[in-house]
């Protein structure tokens, strides 16, 4: 097994707060071709009812991947990062992330299973603000390719 199965059920401490900045939302939005003015223009965002500019739906990965890194880089987990492939990703939004949010994520290891010599690790990152507003549940499956894969 290329992953320590004893890690199922494990929860990691919250990540360091990620301060969501307008420029970062705009840069992420440009990179994925998200042209809506609510990503780029605070007046347009406020007119649409938001407190500040809004992150695109997949922006949550910025924090979710920091959560996943805790597991991938944990020496006890036994994961060879160079053999990791992203298999699945999901986001369930509880409220849109906006500039000014201070986001923390708590990583849960939900499943580790083996198939065809590869290991599949399913994680869940619960993202919230530092003051406890739930933002997003991000699920991810990484595939750790076996030695011969």
């Amino acid at each position: 097994m290329v992953v320590n199965t004893g890690f199922v059920g494990r929860t990691y401490p919250p990540t360091q707060p990620h301060a969501v900045q307008r420029e970062h939302i705009a840069g992420f939005a440009r990179a994925v071709g998200a042209a809506s003015p609510v990503h780029h223009d605070v007046r347009a965002a406020r007119k649409a009812g938001y407190r500040d500019v809004v992150a695109p739906p997949t922006y949550a990965v910025v924090v979710a991947q920091r959560c996943d890194a805790q597991l991938v880089l944990d020496p006890e987990a036994g994961i060879d990062f160079s053999r990791v492939v992203h298999g699945q990703q999901g986001f369930e939004h509880h409220r849109p992330i906006v500039a000014g949010d201070q986001v923390v994520g708590v990583l849960h290891v939900d499943a580790v299973r083996e198939a065809g010599g590869h290991a599949m690790v399913t994680t869940r990152s619960e993202l919230s603000t530092v003051t406890g507003d739930r933002l997003c549940t991000a699920t991810s499956t990484i595939v750790v390719r076996g030695e011969r894969g």
Binding site: P56, P57, Q65, Q88, Q89
Partner: protein, 139 residues
């Protein structure tokens, strides 16, 4: 503008689009997302780990594909969930590549005003995302 629920039915098609991707786009996405894995930037490195060439970040592909839904919904805050499997990499040679994104309504719930959209995302004839879905709140 957000579509009205009464104008939407199972099978309603979302406007499809073709997106061009080159290496600069991947550099920009790496900077914005914090995912600096060299398989998305360095041709030599990508080949050394058995890939045909530089490949796009799966999350970049998901991010551009979901824009078809966001634009249709008229407001990114209406996309309440989205998920996908990464079935094939988007290979990005030095000259760039294209991906095609199409979407249609798979189901809808008039009580909750929630509409499930399925996306078909291909590049170079290969399906790059699998079971790519999003739920939109049209209420």
């Amino acid at each position: 503008m957000t579509p009205r629920l009464q104008d939407v039915a199972v099978g309603t098609e979302l406007p499809a689009r073709t997106i061009t991707v080159d290496r600069q786009v991947l550099i920009d996405y790496a900077a914005a997302s914090g995912d600096a894995n060299p398989i998305h930037q360095d041709e030599e490195f990508a080949r050394s780990v058995g890939l045909p060439d530089v490949i796009a970040h799966g999350m970049w592909t998901m991010g551009v594909a979901i824009e078809v839904v966001t634009d249709w919904a008229g407001d990114p805050g209406r996309v309440v969930s989205c998920s996908t499997r990464f079935t094939n990499p988007v290979v990005v040679p030095a000259g760039g590549a294209e991906i095609e994104v199409a979407g249609s309504v798979k189901s809808l719930d008039r009580e909750s005003s929630r509409v499930a959209v399925e996306l078909t995302v291909t590049s170079g004839g290969a399906k790059v995302l699998g079971r790519a879905t999003a739920v939109v709140d049209l209420g």
